[in-house]
Amino acid sequence: MLAAPDTQAIDLPTFHSVIDLPYTLTPGRATGTFLAEIGNRKIVGSHFASGKIIAPAEDFSPDDGEDVQTFVEVPHTGVLEGYTKVNNDVIGLIQLDGCDNEFAHIILADFETLAVGTRVEAVWADGVENSILAIKGFRPAPETPIGKVLPLGKPANPIEVIPYAMKLDYEHAYGPYYGRMFDEIREFGRIMGVRTSNGDDALLPPRERDDITHKRTGTWKACEDTGTIRGCSIINLEFIGQTRPPPYVYAEIVLDGASTRLIHMIDAESIQWAKDNVRPGSRVRAIWTKGERTGSLRDIERFELIDG
């Protein structure tokens, strides 16, 4: 019999990290046309050679990948094919009259009053363009007649670019090795690694397995806050997400007592100064951040050259 190991989850503090990214998305011809016309209170669908009509419009048939033949204007009325409650919103699957697919949107009605098969109609939002939210939602309309699909005439030029943003919050678990390393940095201002399985040099960051021997790593060891640059480059470009203004030196540093790299920064007066003074083999020391330590690599503000 397989015995479950006697281990438990333990609640510990996590490391908060954020990824915050702007985008410029390209919807393509069909979705771009749909988005361009929605501000005119027209719902654009795709008419395929097979006779199927898909709305909102798509470039390729979801059945067989066939190219769109023409764009059409589809009715603002349809049938509720399914629904659910998400927080305080009711989300429903709507099949517009004359169309062969369903799509999701907000249902403007009490959840309890709805039934699959309810006739619905679009409710338009004021002042919204280039977004499916130009339709505020769909509301029950039991008496509304069944709408007809119409030719679109000359469609508006498709919207080519849609600004978008994604902000992602994470709570990373440290695990026992990173946990102790950052505790040691916060409490004692020292950088501790673990010895390799067969030597005295420390692995930084510390880890359970030696990458080379695949055996368990050895005991903990404090490294110096001085070290030697193994690789360095001079950052002179600006980009979104950058944490300090260029120019500065990106350095991969092997701390004294360790055998692996720590990535950090060295201030540069100028590109020329950095070219002349910072190179593989240069000796550096950590400049600790003033004030209370937080238990992260930010507790080291930067490195600077020794005798540099």
Binding site: S17, I19, L21, P22, Y23, T24, L25, T26, P27, R29, D59, F60, S61, P62, D64, G65, E66, E160, V161, M166, H172, Y174, F182, T196, D201, L203, L204, P205, D211, I212, R230, G231, C232, S233, I234, I235, N236, L237, F239, I240, G241, Q242, T243, Y250, E252, S259, T260, L262, I263, H264, M265, I271, A274, K275, R279, P280, G281, S296, L297, R298
Partner: protein
């Protein structure tokens, strides 16, 4: 990996790529993929019905903010109800996708597999997105995509292996020149060594003209078994060996002077393909050079020259179009760099060479080609040998 020669023979029998661009505002990601797939199927004389399985390869989801894009892509290419997997491996995504497809056909699970790779880099933040491959605890906040890292180890190789700024500039000049004839490239401008050296430092020693463009693009290949290859073409490009290896991220013995995973992959692939003297045996080479300095590194890691002689090799002219071992006659990444697609683009360029079908930059009588690709921060590297 000792069994890599034991599967069935696999060939590339159809290829297609988009006209790559800095920004394609006329198509969505799915529309971009569709163009490459239509071209590859037409080239292979096939329709989607003939395809047994699909591999979709693209870079990190953060590049373009669509998670699980394969569900969108299969709709757009009419591949509903077929087996599909997505493979992602940073810059090596396309190559890793080809390897996944190769395994399916070599293993007898498919007669024909379509591999399509793409990235639409105009949509997101390239360096920031790439920086998220760093450990969030250990270095991400100081990361500069892979550019900071790549430049740092180029700087170290300058001292250890003589990979000078001039040598890398010659790579940039060669590839940018070659790209001018490539109908699918979008960066077509001749530059001089002096101009490369004088261009703006971005992450010195990497300068603006050492860096390829940022591109939107897709590329697709059809892989076929020996049994069905002839339906598509009388002259397939046979895959004589293919491998993709990794090394530990922050291991104590990681030197970063030679690319160790690439050297290991090359050893396996050369054994499978019977390569004992790469410089003499290969007619043409296509490498994925995210920055000019990497091509020098790959000359040595692939055994085209001994360590420390890459600068001499480029200076000798041997890797030029008319040299004895042309590298990147297509222009490589310098002509277009839709990152996730690049592994497939390099395979396409090498395949069309040994098929004798490169319209614009055919190397005369090319019979044997070497392809390199890779991803991660230099720790995932692979290569393949293609033959007529």
């Amino acid at each position: 990996m000792s069994n890599i020669t034991h599967g069935g023979h696999v060939a590339i029998v159809g290829v297609g790529q988009t006209h790559h661009a800095r920004r394609r505002t006329d198509v969505s990601q799915a529309g971009l993929v569709r163009e490459a797939v239509d071209r590859a199927l037409a080239d292979a004389n096939l329709s989607m019905e003939d395809i047994d399985s699909i591999v979709v390869a693209s870079g990190p989801v953060l590049f373009a903010a669509v998670n699980q894009p394969e569900k969108w892509v299969v709709n757009a290419i009419g591949a509903q109800n077929k087996p599909v997997v997505r493979v992602t491996s940073g810059g090596g995504a396309g190559f890793a996708g080809a390897l996944a497809g190769y395994y399916q056909v070599a293993g007898g699970f498919a007669e024909r597999t379509l591999v399509v790779a793409y990235d639409k880099l105009s949509e997101g933040q390239l360096q920031y997105s790439i920086s998220t491959l760093y450990d969030p605890f250990w270095g991400r906040e100081f990361a500069v995509g892979i550019m900071g890292f790549s430049a740092a180890y180029w700087r170290a190789r300058m001292d250890a292996l003589g990979h000078t700024e001039e040598a890398a500039a010659m790579v940039a000049v060669k590839n940018r020149m070659n790209a001018i004839a490539n109908p699918y490239a979008h960066m077509k401008k001749e530059v001089t060594v002096e101009e490369v050296l004088a261009s703006k430092p971005l992450c010195w020693p990497i300068k603006l003209l050492d860096v390829p463009p940022i591109s939107d693009g897709a590329a697709a290949i059809v892989l076929a078994s020996e049994k069905v290859a002839a339906k598509s073409t009388t002259r397939p490009a046979w895959i004589q060996g293919i491998a993709y290896c990794c090394e530990a991220d922050n291991a104590p013995e990681r030197s970063l002077m030679l690319s160790e995973p690439l050297a290991i992959a090359a050893r396996h692939v050369y054994r499978a393909a019977g390569i004992t003297n790469p410089r003499r045996q290969f007619d043409v080479v296509e490498v994925q050079e995210p920055y000019s300095c990497f091509e020098l590194n790959y000359y040595e890691s692939l055994g085209l020259c001994p360590p420390g002689q890459a600068a001499d090799l480029i200076a000798s002219g041997a890797t030029q179009l008319d040299g004895d071992i042309p590298v990147n006659p297509s222009g490589g990444c310098m002509g277009a760099n839709p990152i996730g697609a690049v592994g497939i683009i390099r395979l396409i360029e090498a395949a069309t060479q040994v098929m004798g079908r490169s319209e614009s930059h055919q190397i005369k009588d090319a019979k044997l080609a070497l392809v390199q690709s890779g991803g991660g921060w230099a720790n995932l590297r692979g290569c393949a040998v293609l033959s007529a």
